[in-house]
Amino acid sequence: MLRFDIKNWSMEKRESAAAYMFISPWIIGFLFLTLMPMATSLYLSFTDYNILDAPVWVGFKNFEDLFQDPQFWGSLKVTFSFAVMSLPASLILGLSLAVLLNQDIPFVKLWRTLYFLPSVLSGVAVTLLWVLLFNPQVGAINAVLAIFGIKGPGWLHDPNWALPSLVIMSLWGVGQTMIIYLAGLQGIPTDLYDAAKVDGAGMWRRFRSITIPMMSPVIFYNLVLGIISTFQYFTQAFVASQSVGSQEVGGPVRSTLFYNLYLYQSGFRFFEMGYASAMAWILFIFVLILTILIFKSSPMWVHYEGELRGRS
């Protein structure tokens, strides 16, 4: 007969049981809201599934078709281009702002709040606001450029400028990155700077030889999160492209057809849920590989305080 006598359990066993009970809501949520949908998505990626009829097993056909699909490669190119433009810009801008706001200047707390505030606002409303700002005829941006005698581009209406417009839009929310850098900057021991000054190091040398290495763990953190969020970019591109001109998803002429936008289009506009699921798994594997590569490279450029290199 099975006995479940808690009274005879060891303290360690009881503590483990209590711990599992406390995290059980999360485990249940993870199982049913994350793991099971992932498993279902994996299964669907090997099927022809149009949502309305039962899935039909097709093996690797979705993946084969994907690699032959020009729009798949086009969407990857758009996403990569965006990442190449926005990631370095947000890292550099965020760090620069943090360094500036780490100085003893008047109203520094107000400035920090003002720079952080845009990152709190997000989503559809902000994107629509930017659509108005980017309007080539009456938008504020072109109006300011006109003051300097510059004829502004078509921005979101111009296939050559739509993607840079989204990059600019994304930089508006750099406050979140800035705050994390600011916390990191304030954790750098000041005696390092004092010692460097005594040795005659100038401002740039101190920044290059102390600030950057000491901030490398934070940069590493922001880089990993930045890559993940860049490859999941969707809302702003979707809203912006639907708000201009022909309301083409990822327009104009697919210049902002991000990978996730094409995934959405495949699943919910074209009713190709199996195809979209295959796209989702390719994205997952790709971002995973990229993250692993960054982690593998980290010993070469990320310095943790107290870590000794090359010494046993």
Binding site: L52, G245, G251
Partner: protein, 455 residues
């Protein structure tokens, strides 16, 4: 005593079963009507739909209807979920041709119902019956039509001294060349030079002669005389024909109109109109002629216009024919509906001569029944006085069949491909209509081949 109790128990059971079976037999079937994929969701349309529901329910004992009105933005996903969850509504509509095409495999065929009832369809406009009928599937009785024609700003024509478009359907001088000529005279820069003038500044246009920016690429090209009209394939959907001569000619006319002759607003012009807060191309007073449908009457802000509006037929195409693209609505029965017979009865009621005018007034369409056209015309004239209503009703006879929204294999991707070709032209990324349609045709042929390979 024991036997008496058992007898009483048996009598009680029998009586209960009899009453309950009687109750079940009398319980009416509820037909759920899903509204949201097209028109029908604005606040003004809800009370009349509720009144229609009450009208039906008070006159039918065996069937009751219930409108399920879903916001447009979520209707697509909600319907998909309902069908996938085996909880399909019984009627869906009003649906345009494109919506029907999008979900084509999920509609019931009403042909058996028509044959069983020997239902008389002769009162419907004959071409309207074709719009949602496919070789193996008739998706529904036609409800309403939205013919298209040219809206024009009379004041702009008067100010420029340009002749009005003719309203006579037999006037063969009204061609796309004539549209171009008049549109160029109506297109002005800030100095008042028209597009025909050597002093015209194309970088400073303040008024355009013609606009068709609300049309999909297939709708733009359907009037140009291709034998497939609005369908980019051959009759059995096996050969892609999007780069046919007529469509290339039409798309090049449109491309030249934007980038060479400048009488059609391009991306910059459309952005200018949008930024000026102008809700529709015509009511801002910046466009001389605008091709659209009868539903545009409700969008135009007719009462508040500061200028006179009139309408004219779609011009003749180079092949000597006339095609006026049409939008058409009907109700459809999902294949998974559990009450198809009852839904068919409701569909007949909604499209019956006694109701169709009221139903169409709710949804802003022209009834598909010829016998009520005078009655509906009177209602239209009351709401939108002064228009040449002969143009509206005569345009129905020139509708595009196959329709520009009609089904083709892999409909979503095919539409996206053709619209992409049109957007390449509008944005100026490629102004060569032959090149963009050749590329689109190649893609569509690939889609067709893939579709048929999987059948």
């Amino acid at each position: 005593m024991f036997k008496k109790k058992h007898v009483l128990l048996v009598i009680l059971i029998i009586a209960t079963l009899a009453v309950s079976s009687l109750t079940f037999a009398q319980e009416p079937v509820t037909v759920t009507i899903f509204v949201g994929l097209g028109t029908g969701t604005s606040p003004e349309q809800i009370p009349p739909q509720e009144a229609l529901q009450e009208r039906f329910n008070s006159t039918h004992d065996d069937i009751q209807i219930e409108f399920l009105i879903v916001p447009n933005e979520s209707a697509h996903d909600q319907l998909t979920t309902m069908i996938a969850g085996d909880n399909a509504p019984d009627l869906v509509g009003p649906n345009g041709v494109s919506t029907i095409a999008k979900f084509l495999d999920n509609w019931a065929d009403i042909t058996p119902f028509i044959e069983a009832d020997q239902f008389d369809t002769s009162d419907f406009y004959p071409l309207a019956l074709e719009l949602n009928a496919y070789p193996d599937l008739n998706t529904g009785l036609p409800l309403g039509l939205f013919p298209s024609y040219i809206y024009y700003n009379v004041d702009l024509f008067d100010a420029s001294g340009v002749d009005y478009p003719p309203s006579d359907f037999d006037d063969t001088s009204w061609t796309y060349d004539a549209v171009r000529e008049r549109a160029m005279l109506l297109t002005l820069d800030s100095n008042g030079n028209n597009a025909s003038s050597p002093d015209f500044n194309a970088d400073d246009i303040v008024q355009w002669g013609y606009d068709d920016s609300w049309a999909s690429t297939r709708e733009l090209l359907a009037p140009w005389g291709f034998e497939g009209v609005g369908r980019p394939t051959n009759e059995d959907y096996t050969v892609a024909m999007a780069n046919n001569e007529a469509w290339v000619q039409g798309l090049q006319w449109y491309s030249d109109g934007i980038h060479v002759d400048h009488f059609i607003p391009g991306v910059d012009g459309q952005a200018a109109m949008a930024s000026a807060g102008i809700g529709t191309p015509l009511d801002g007073g910046l466009v001389g002629m605008f091709h659209s449908h009868t539903w545009y009457l409700t969008e135009l802000g007719f009462d508040g216009l500061l200028f006179e509006v009139q309408i004219a037929p779609v011009p003749f195409n180079p092949a000597g024919g006339r095609v006026a693209p049409i939008h058409a609505d009907n109700f459809t029965i999902p294949e998974n509906s559990k009450h198809k017979e009852e839904a068919w009865e409701v569909m007949k009621w909604l499209t019956a001569p006694e109701q169709i005018v009221d139903v169409c007034l709710i949804y802003g369409c022209i009834p598909s029944r010829q016998s009520v056209s005078d009655e509906f015309r009177a209602a239209l004239e009351e709401n939108f006085p002064g228009l040449d209503y002969d143009v509206i009703f005569e345009s129905i006879n020139y509708l595009d069949a196959p329709n520009h929204e009609s089904w083709v294999p892999q409909w979503g991707r095919a539409e996206d491909t053709i619209n992409f070709a049109g957007n390449l032209i509008v944005t100026g990324e490629n102004t060569d209509a032959q090149a963009v349609l050749d590329e689109a045709n190649e893609t569509i042929q690939g889609l067709l081949d893939e579709y048929w390979a999987n059948q």
